[in-house]
Subunit: 150 residues, 2 copies
Amino acid sequence: MRENNCLGEHMAVTQRMLNAFLRCRLEGVDLSASQVIFLMHLYKQDGQSQEEINKKMQYDKGVIARMAAALEKNGYISRKNNPMDNRAYLLLLTQKAIDFLPTMVEILKEWNSVLVEGEDEETLIMLDRAMKRIADRSVEKVKEIKNGKK
Amino acid sequence: MRENNCLGEHMAVTQRMLNAFLRCRLEGVDLSASQVIFLMHLYKQDGQSQEEINKKMQYDKGVIARMAAALEKNGYISRKNNPMDNRAYLLLLTQKAIDFLPTMVEILKEWNSVLVEGEDEETLIMLDRAMKRIADRSVEKVKEIKNGKK
DNA sequence: CAGAAACCGTTGCAAAAACAACTATTATAG
DNA sequence: CTATAATAGTTGTTTTTGCAACGGTTTCTG
């Protein structure tokens, strides 16, 4: 009981450190820490909508809108209207973004190596799966609360 | 490899959900999400300095200074000069903070129950320890980078 | 002991993020 | 078919966070 209560704090600290790390490694690059994660989602699957990125990152949709606008302005993505749904965009990576991928992967790999250093393969698999379940339940919980309030 | 890369994203999502959850539960209370965590550190050990809280939470020290000022202004803590070191404060919980403790514990317990739901006791212990190691390495890594830059 | 370095805290400023109100489009219900 | 609800995105405003420069203490070093 006592021990579990700290999980959240460890995550919070790690999260702040990740952001600090990314800010250091992105010095001189016209990308913020969260924009890099944004782009990573598009690398995994190009042509998503802001809504889809929003669901995955769980940032406020206003924040996502501004990130997308900034990424477009800086030439990392283009926003095509989705012919299937005129409300939504297709967010598409530009060549500039594709060229930046190797750098980004290297930076994320460096961070990942810090996270996994000295941990068993078994522990890591377990950790990742458990954290996914936890993240999913967290999203669900907040959704319930917010729906209940309307 | 592929799987581990997502650890950070799961943590990030969970972290944002925790903040959203706390904001909901703290409606009408003159405390922010991070201020509650701040107070929790004082509950664990009263009379710490801002620097000590800073080390544990890993927020920027300016942020900690403003949190402490706000908590004092709203009557949750008092700041006594430390007779052993005139640079530092002793941050002390007031009665108002102590009265609020049960509410706070209940809120955090509610959140914790979301995190641990359906997980084995074994998994949880493992998770907490692994996350502590990860958080510690993260802090260390960022410290190295920032020292290297000076 | 004097000067330099490290430490603790504050403040101005800028970036990041949340929230709410809004427009426009699509989907659903009666 | 129309009215209502839900969806996708934008924008104004406020709060939160990070960074850097600063002032006053303490500690270290020669």
